[in-house]
Amino acid sequence: AQKVTQAQTEISVVEKEDVTLDCVYETRDTTYYLFWYKQPPSGELVFLIRRNSFDEQNEISGRYSWNFQKSTSSFNFTITASQVVDSAVYFCALSEIRFYNYGQNFVFGPGTRLSVLP
């Protein structure tokens, strides 16, 4: 069975601090996607990044960076120089990769609520 764990329920930081959100996953699939979504107070989940399991290259996009380690089944997300607008709930998610088929089964973690204080 697939499972996503986000052990940090809530994190508070002061603006300009760096913060890392942890994500640990379980799957029996050898190929899969990992995602991070952001849910601001408005409620809409916003896609941030997708990684596939055969590409462990870490990625940096502006103030965001992601550390994917297949050996430890972790896909951590770091925000550098956090800003108040980063305050939101962040979800890590896992889905299988399927060929010649529609859709996929997503499994979401419970989320981490990040509060960035001015």
Binding site: G43, L45, F47, F91, N105, F106, F108
Partner: protein
């Protein structure tokens, strides 16, 4: 391009009453999902449509929940009768999947959700 549109944004009803939520996915997206999000938790799948066919409804409580996507575009999720425990946010999402053309794309686009309060 318009995103996933859901209505109503908020609904307050008394228990045992019916309620319906509507979702219009992104134009051209063939896969549509309804998710349930309880407070402080991640979304949980209720049902997934591939075009007009419900291909995964294993988590849908079929005694009181029903859904339809008649023309493979917009969709309606209904609860009848509602119970106190149904209070949650109901999220709709869509994706463009290639089916017989190749790998699934792996990205969901979500609406803002419909927040249901059952009194």
């Amino acid at each position: 391009e318009a995103g996933v549109v859901q209505s109503p944004r908020y609904k307050i009803i008394e228990k045992k009453q019916p309620v319906a939520f509507w979702c219009n996915p992104i134009s051209g997206h063939n896969t549509l999902y309804w998710y349930l999000q309880n407070l402080g938790q991640g979304p949980e799948l209720l049902i997934r449509y591939e075009n007009e066919e419900a291909v995964d409804d294993s988590q849908l409580p079929k005694d009181r929940f029903s859904a339809e996507r008649l023309k493979g575009v917009d969709s309606t999720l209904k609860i009848q009768p509602a119970e106190l425990g149904d209070s949650a946010v109901y999220l709709c999402a869509s994706s463009l999947d290639h089916g017989t053309g190749g790998f699934n794309t792996g990205e969901l686009f979500f609406g803002e959700g419909s927040r249901l309060t059952v009194l």
